[in-house]
Amino acid sequence: MTTPTTAPVTAPLLHIPTIRLATHLRRLGAAALVVASVLAAPEPARAGGGQTAGEDACAPDADSLPLAGAHFAPRRVDGGLAWDARFVVTSDAPSSFRGGALRFAAPLPAGEELVATQGLDAIVEAGRVAGLCVGEGALQGRTVSASFFQPLSGEGAIALGAPIATGRTVQIVDTSVGDARLELTDAPLLEKHVGFVAPRGIGPGAREEARRLTGVREHVSASPIYLRGEDARGGLTVRLADPRARDHTSAIAVGVAFAAVVGGLVLAARRLRRAASVERADALLASEIEAAAKGSRG
């Protein structure tokens, strides 16, 4: 605690307050130096995170996050969409990982921001989140979890707010948002299949591997998007399709069909009435004649 050389051993009791004061001053001075050095350092374009990601996480020579897979799930929140992202690193990464940068294939839409997460900072370029500074502490096992908030205003096409990482790693974007669904509006590289959307280059094996790495279960009705960073380089646009609105349109068509069928049935009943009564009368008459003939024979 105290430095023995700063106080004479012969007068211990008198000098103890003086020694403590000197120690406190030294500590204050050291703290002031640290604060001054931090303030004087060049400001990196970081935003969002509640705690810094680590000093070297986003340095120019910092490693990039060795990504093996990623999964993005949207959910409805007040005023927009929340994107829950899980980035899975390669199996050998956790032992050697000391922080790194994760660049997105395209900057996130304007207004989308990182929800404060320990060990994560947003890399902001031209006012848009273009990547993440991932600190050592942000890696939980093999997973880095982050949440983003994408504000929504009005209807129509919107930019896909999933933070798709750059590179060739196959990533999964969920499209179910509660009862609604995100539908790609303009993505020529991505093909719509039964139960999923993917570019031609991602085969069943790659999809299975992506699901295995991220722990995503396959659902017939989920229709996720499998893609790589290069497939989303120019940014993707989606439309939030509400099944209730679709059902409303279908219900009108079904209602019109119903009215037409009922009208047809009523018309058929009217037309058949006369023919049926004639048929019935003929049959009754025939049976009466037959009965009378039997009676006369008997």
């Binding site: 009862d179 079904v254 009523v266 058949l272 023919a275 049926a276």
Partner: protein, 204 residues
């Protein structure tokens, strides 16, 4: 009343009287069976939605619509299967068996409607259970009546299996269309049911 009794007889699988076996009369019975089914379905819809005036009024046309359109969508597949399988049964007999089944099923719904309404008004959990239960019972009764009516109208010695193929195709088509039509028409019950979201919801 005569027509109603005749329809009940047909639904029970009894032989069609000679005076009702003409083509026009058979078609008339088919049409009457469908129109009567609409009324029965409307009565049940009213009961199932009796917790709110809006839902009750909407159900007056939604439930008949679901049932009638499912019949209309299923009939062509059944007729094609009948033609292709060479089933030893007249087309109008098959149509009468089908509409007899629909008539019987919706009649079950109609007679259970007061019970459904009463329980919806007086119980939080029994109402929905009874509502869904009555639908399941109606489906079972309708299926049994259709199958029985078709088999009983087969000529003596005719193979039953060939006649059951168009029956199975018609029933399968009707169930599949019912599932999605019910989802499009939802809400029919005041609560969200497993069938409210259609096949997507069931497959989830």
């Amino acid at each position: 009343m005569t027509t109603f009794v005749t329809l009940l007889d047909i639904a029970c699988g009894r032989p069609i009287p000679a005076e009702d076996s003409g083509r026009a009369r058979r078609l008339q019975l088919v049409v009457f069976a469908l129109l009567a089914s609409l009324a029965f379905a409307g009565a049940w819809g009213l009961a199932a939605g009796s917790q709110g005036a809006g839902l009750a009024i909407a159900n007056l046309y939604k439930v008949p619509m679901v049932i009638l359109l499912s019949c209309v969508f299923a009939a062509p597949a059944g007729l094609l299967a009948w033609r292709l399988s060479g089933a030893p049964i007249r087309g109008t007999d098959l149509a009468l068996g089908f509409t007899g089944g629909v008539f019987g099923g919706t009649l079950v719904l109609a007679v259970l409607a007061p019970l459904v309404a009463l329980y919806y008004q007086s119980s939080a959990w029994a109402g929905p259970l009874l509502g869904i239960g009555s639908v399941v019972l109606a489906l079972v009764v309708g299926t049994v009546m259709f199958v029985r009516g078709t088999i009983r109208r087969l000529p003596p010695g005719a193979p039953k299996l060939a006649a059951l193929l168009p029956v199975a195709v018609t029933l399968g088509m009707q169930l599949l269309t019912l599932l999605q039509l019910a989802a499009i028409a939802a809400p029919i019950f005041p609560e969200r049911t497993p069938f409210s979201g259609g096949i997507d919801h069931l497959a989830r």
